[in-house]
């Protein structure tokens, strides 16, 4: 009976082996498909750009999807070149792939040859485990996870939208989460604000949220901004963040945040909820419309009841908060298509999503073509939004 070593030599005798430099040339120049047959944990530690992961046990099933054309050049990679040789044998002899090769010496030889490898050097072993389901996604990968860990995200409101949003962003490993809220946890919050709990009724929401986040993920630094955003503090507070998440419960804050965000060119992921309905859009200054392009003036109070007055389905708040978190992740990792120029409506009773187009308003007083930059001396001197929105219906 042949020993394992002999049999690997026999296999290697039957298949084509190529050295890393030639493999790289074929992949980059000729568009050969590179398939990594190692295990996910090995991939997490280091892998090659453009490679597709299909561990040994799955490669037989995955290859048809990765290379529907049996004549396509397929180059296989593992750690030292043994598993990839066996996989090449299987693909060629059993599955009829005509043009398969294995990289001799695997990723170790590749690295020794001084060729580029995407190393997970920014992630600790604990982080590799914690975020493995992210890093397995080619769109995120270690690189994307490092961007998330580097991101600074400010949540305006730690309530119906902010609670689910902050919780998931913390789990996802957003490195810095700022929380703005001046309220304390109330029993009536707990039907939807899952980051708080019964024992913390009466505790400031920012503190309660910080406790939950720290228990969930020690990677996240939580910054509490206990108070409300006002013209006097907003620029200072938001300037330290990359992405702003608007879950405010009132129009003055929404307009104030918009104006300050446009000024500092910070993206705002904005959502609002009422009863069974939610709205969400992502405002990236000058790339798409701003909040004022969408809503030039706030509605009168009778058309803008609060959740406290009108009620809100807790689960729907969660859906909208998580849609916000989803937008934040995409912006932070630089993947996918953010909701720029699109307003998404969610009707939870009908389970219907409606998408509306939102264009930049050339006459927008804040981001329009003729809108003047507020001079440095007037930084922080925003109009008096409290009075602006206080009562009398605003006509055309």
């Amino acid at each position: 009976m042949a020993t394992v070593a002999e049999s690997i030599e026999q296999v290697k005798g039957r298949i084509e082996e190529i050295d890393p430099a030639r493999a790289r040339q074929e992949i980059e120049r000729d568009g050969a498909l590179l398939v990594d047959v190692r295990e996910p944990y090995e991939w997490d530690e280091a892998h090659l750009a453009g490679a597709k992961l299909a561990p040994m046990a799955t490669v037989r099933d995955r290859i048809a999807e990765l290379a529907p054309d049996h004549s396509r050049r397929v180059i296989l990679l593992c750690r030292v070149g043994n598993r990839s040789a066996r996989a090449a044998d299987t693909l060629g002899a059993e599955l009829g792939y005509e043009n398969v090769a294995s990289i001799a010496g695997g990723i170790e030889a590749w690295r020794d040859a001084g060729l580029p490898v995407i190393e997970a050097e920014g992630l600790t072993p604990e982080q590799r485990m914690r975020y493995s389901r992210h890093t397995l996604l080619p769109e995120v990968g270690v690189e994307g996870q490092l961007k998330l860990l580097d991101a600074k995200v400010l949540l305006i409101g730690a309530g119906g939208l902010g609670a689910p949003s902050a919780f998931y962003l913390a789990a996802a490993g957003i490195g810095t989460l700022g929380l703005v809220d001046d309220d304390v946890v109330d029993e009536s919050n707990l039907q939807r604000q899952v980051i708080h709990n019964t024992e913390r009724v009466g505790m400031p929401k920012t503190e309660s949220a910080r406790m939950s986040i720290e228990a969930l993920n020690p990677d996240v630094e939580v910054v509490e901004h206990r108070g409300r955003l006002g013209p006097d503090n907003i620029l200072d507070i938001i300037s330290g963040y990359d992405i702003l998440v608007d879950g405010a419960d009132n129009f003055p804050t929404r307009y104030l945040l918009n104006d300050a965000a446009v000024r500092l060119r910070k993206p705002v992921v904005s959502a609002s909820i009422l009863a069974f309905d939610g709205q969400i859009s992502t405002f990236v200054p000058y790339e798409g419309p701003c909040y004022r392009c969408l809503y030039p003036v706030p509605p009168p109070p009778e058309l803008a009841p609060s959740c406290g007055a009108a009620g809100v389905l807790g689960v729907m708040a969660g859906v909208m908060g998580l849609l916000q978190a989803n937008e934040v992740i995409k912006l932070a990792a630089g993947i996918g298509e953010p909701l720029i120029g699109r307003l998404l409506l969610y009707d939870s009773l009908g389970t219907r999503f409606t998408e509306l187009k939102v264009k930049r308003d050339p006459d927008c007083p804040i981001c329009g073509d003729a809108a003047p930059e507020i001079p440095e001396s007037e930084l922080g001197k925003f109009p008096d939004y409290e009075a602006f929105c206080a009562g009398t219906p605003v006509g055309a």
Binding site: D246, S272, P299, C307, L343
Partner: protein, 92 residues
């Protein structure tokens, strides 16, 4: 008849209906038809001048009528008109 989607804040004026049908050849006709059938919506949709209130966004299908021909935008029976006021609910 064109379908009009009614936002939550106006549903008390339409007997709770989230969608109503209204006839007319332009967006303005359709909305005036709505205000005729459900008079409670009139003051919230229209200013005294007959213009749409600035705080009410109206979409024909997925397009803001402000970038079309406003209230003069023609509609057909297969169109949907969406009425959308801003909402501010979030934190509390």
């Amino acid at each position: 008849m064109t379908t009009v989607k009614i936002p939550p804040v106006l549903r008390s004026q339409t007997g709770g209906d989230a969608e109503v049908s209204a006839g007319g050849s332009t967006v303005g006709d359709v909305l005036r038809g709505l205000a005729e059938t459900h008079p409670g919506t009139r003051a919230q949709l229209f200013a005294e001048s007959g213009e749409l209130n600035r705080y009410v966004n109206v979409y024909l299908n997925d397009e803001d009528v402000r970038v079309l021909d406003g209230l003069e935008t023609p509609v057909s029976d297969s169109d949907t008109v969406v009425i959308l006021p801003a909402m501010a609910g979030g934190a509390r």
